[in-house]
């Protein structure tokens, strides 16, 4: 087998595909009168934040997770549109099915972004750049939306690459171009570091990824703890993590490194609710049920704490995951500030498999099951937007998650 050697040998071909301003783009697609106008997707309540800002609004300095009030002061002419999550989920399903035609190895990170492993698919789709063009074309054809695509030998570099030429971007980083691509980038491009980690790196005199890559790994570990080896590897463009489809995962988890540290139960629970909802949705999409749930907290001193419990019966419901996660919170010392909140579902089994019946307390669960079935029936007859949870209408969280976990 002979392969072109000029761009270096591709040991793996990893694609990161990320929809451009997804919520806003869907609104502009559905409502032509909104096209070309600055949009802010989000609620209007006092604590609402911007879930997505359209590209027309971004020059005003508006971005995801910004309080809505502040965003409107910066861009008063913006049109505020309440999010329609069910509609976005519907479009997302179409996008994910497009991805699935390119590779069986699709790892969906959220509604609007996914990793694809296209290693060995050059024969089908051509060289990496051609692959990326085909994916962009197929998404546009299926949905009318644009997607930014990064192609690289691993997940981290692919993710940075997809972001670098947004919107409608296409960036291929060949194996022998990884270092040249990463070196000039600021340390804020490191994955899973968060604002505080970034500040610490700055304090250590490290400005660019080249600085981090050149630093003594032992010194990094002394100063940063377990994060040291992680950032050192990433800065060198090393990331061996595989693309794992949810269907085959041992666990499905979601976590955020928070911009601001949180202390205490009340500050942690909203994050858990969001993660539980996300994990529930991913379980259902993968056709799985979880037999256990795990809560993961990381202190500002980078101490990782986890607590887990079995679920009887197994579930794919975000509500149940959240309720059990709340019980697990009692087993943590919540008096210390946390920088990361995560939730994972494990002990996964096929949702279509027979369910073990319960001896006690069946009535409540049967009612919940009947409710779920009724909602599913309504949705299949009248569309997914026919029935929504109250919590889905107001105050959507930011569209993206900074990073996620997987074991």
């Amino acid at each position: 087998m002979s392969r072109s050697t000029s761009p270096g040998r591709w040991s793996r071909i990893i694609v990161h595909a990320d929809m451009d301003a997804f919520y806003a783009a869907v609104e502009q697609l559905d409502r032509p009168e909104l096209r070309g106008k600055p949009l802010l997707i989000g609620g209007t309540g006092p604590r609402s934040v911007v879930a997505t800002a359209s590209y027309e609004a971004r020059p005003f300095g508006v971005g995801s997770a910004m309080p809505m009030g502040l965003a409107l002061r910066k861009c008063p002419q913006a049109i505020v549109v309440p999010p329609r999550l069910a509609r976005y989920a519907e479009v997302s399903d179409r996008i994910m099915s497009v991805f699935a035609t390119f590779s069986p190895l699709v790892e969906a990170l959220s509604l609007d972004e996914a990793f694809l492993d296209l290693t060995g698919a050059e024969g089908l789709f051509g060289p990496p750049e051609e692959m990326a063009r085909r994916i962009k074309g197929a998404v546009r054809e299926a949905t009318g939306l644009t997607v930014s695509v990064g192609v690289a030998p691993n997940k981290y570099v692919a993710k940075v690459a997809s972001d670098i030429r947004k919107p409608d971007g296409l960036c291929v980083v060949p194996p022998d171009g990884v270092r040249a691509f990463l070196d000039p980038l600021p340390v804020s491009r490191l994955w899973g570091v968060g604002k505080h980690g970034e500040e610490r790196l700055q304090d250590m005199g490290l400005r660019t990824l080249a600085d981090v890559a050149a630093a003594d790994p032992a010194w990094l570990e002394r100063r940063l703890g377990s994060m040291g080896p992680h950032v050192h590897a990433l800065a060198q463009g090393i990331d061996p993590r595989p693309v794992v489809p949810d269907r085959e995962a041992k666990s499905i988890g979601s976590e955020v490194t928070l911009d601001d540290d949180v202390v205490g139960r009340a500050a942690i629970t909203p994050h858990l609710l969001r993660e539980a909802d996300r994990v529930g949705r991913r379980l259902r999409r993968a056709g799985l049920r979880a037999g256990g749930v795990r809560v993961k907290l990381k202190t500002t001193k980078f101490q990782l704490l986890t607590r887990q419990t079995a679920l009887h019966p197994p579930t794919s419901s975000g509500d149940v995951l959240y309720r059990e996660a709340l019980r697990l919170l009692d087993a943590f010392d919540l008096g210390v500030p946390m920088r990361l909140v995560g939730l994972a579902a494990y002990d996964l089994a096929d949702a279509a498999a027979p369910v073990q019946g319960e001896l006690f307390g069946q009535e409540g669960r049967e009612r919940q099951q009947r409710l779920d079935q009724a909602v599913d029936a309504l949705r299949s007859r009248f569309g997914k937007a026919a029935v929504r949870r109250g919590s889905e209408i107001e105050d959507e969280g930011p569209e993206r998650q900074p990073d996620r976990m997987r074991d």
Partner: protein, 376 residues
């Protein structure tokens, strides 16, 4: 402390303490065994605060005293000594224990014996009764296997023990366990001495119940059951097991035991067990479902494994004319009941895939098992 004791006599109480000593740490009190030498011989104790075991052994005591040393290390040393050895145990001022046998000697670092929690060895004198150990053993065997294996629902993490008065000199003992998917109930009338007729009810954590099985292995034919404060204490064969009760309310088990099922089939326990075992030999995950179908006097058992293949077996049921039924089970649940119920024949009473299945045998009226089917 200075004592001399047979290796065999020393190994028994140390063996009994192994289930309680913490194997993960080395220096905690919970990893240690407390040995005290008094006028009557040696007393060995180990605790994890929920379960405390105390065992006695006779020994030649030359100097009274106490030590607190790592329980696993001491057991490993004693086990390695030649049989028939006479072992000499000596403590020094630094809480070290010297173990000498023949030409070998060992030193184990210990901690101050006063560190052993006094509350772990509560005085006796509670309400009690003495009964036949083999009955208690048999009931444990029929219930311990279906206790919830984790602590996600504390009330289900142990065996419910109920004691009620019967005729004079007798007591009704009942043990119930459930993991939420199946339930086991064993009850027997036993001869009881020293029993004042009080009703008792408590939940014994599965770890304590497993230790109880271990101390009942000894030669003493009886066991004393005693209620002391928040603890239940079992004594047999010079060993005393104190278990902190689970202070939760056990679910109302009588509500979930069906009176009868629509379809009643009786068959040989061993043939049901070996059929299920064969059919599930392909099973590669714990969630595999045994599909049971009864029609035209035949019970067919089937298991499908997505990646491997499928297994099928039929059992003739001459007495089941007119019965038609389709239901799924976790095969392990049925096999475990077949395994503990030591009867020739077994009766299954089933209604449909949503209703609990009743399992029992005419040969053993006190034992009843309930298994929830899997919804196909």
């Amino acid at each position: 402390m200075k004592v001399r004791i047979d290796k065999a006599a020393l190994a028994v109480p140390l063996y009994r303490a192994q289930g309680v000593v913490d194997r993960k740490t080395t220096t905690n009190v919970t990893a240690c065994v407390h040995i005290s030498a008094g006028e009557d011989g040696l007393t060995f104790s180990a605790t994890d605060y929920d379960v405390t075991i105390t065992a006695e052994a006779s020994a030649e005591v030359m100097e009274q005293g106490a030590v607190l040393v790592n329980g696993r290390a001491l057991f490993d040393v004693v086990r390695a000594l030649p049989d028939e050895s006479i072992v000499q145990l000596t403590s020094d001022d630094n809480h070290r224990l010297r173990i000498e046998a023949g030409r070998s000697y060992f030193h184990l670092n210990g901690i101050a014996p006063e560190e052993f929690p006094p509350s772990a060895m509560e005085a006796g004198g509670g309400k009690s009764l003495i009964c036949d150990k083999s009955q208690v053993q048999a009931m444990l065997r029929r219930t311990l296997f279906s206790v919830l294996a984790d602590d996600s629902r504390p009330a289900l993490s142990g065996v419910l023990l109920e004691i009620e008065p019967e005729a004079a000199g007798q007591a009704r003992l009942r043990m119930v366990s459930t993991d939420g998917h199946r339930l086991s109930k064993a009850e027997r009338t036993v001869a009881a001495t020293d029993y004042d007729g009080t009703k008792y009810r408590c939940i014994v954590h599965r770890r304590g119940a497993a230790e109880l099985q271990r101390i009942l292995d000894g030669s003493d034919p009886s066991v004393r059951i005693e209620f002391v404060g928040r603890n239940v204490v079992f004594s047999s064969d010079k060993a005393r097991l104190q278990i902190r009760q689970i202070e939760e309310s056990f679910p109302d088990y009588s509500r979930v035991i069906p009176e009868r099922g629509d379809a009643v089939i009786t068959l040989a326990t061993s043939s049901l067990l070996s059929s299920i075992r064969r059919v599930s030999s392909l099973a590669n995950n714990k969630d595999a479902t045994l599909r049971v179908e009864i029609a035209d006097g035949i019970m067919s058992l089937e298991m499908k494994h997505q990646d491997v293949g499928e297994a099928h077996e039929e059992i003739e049921l001459p007495d089941s004319a007119g019965v038609r039924l389709k239901v799924g089970f976790n095969p392990r649940f049925l096999m475990e009941v077949c395994g503990v119920l030591e009867t020739e024949n077994i009766t299954l009473e089933m209604s449909d895939q949503f209703s609990p299945c009743l399992v029992h045998s005419d040969e053993e009226p006190g034992s009843v098992f309930v298994i929830m089917p899997m919804r196909l």
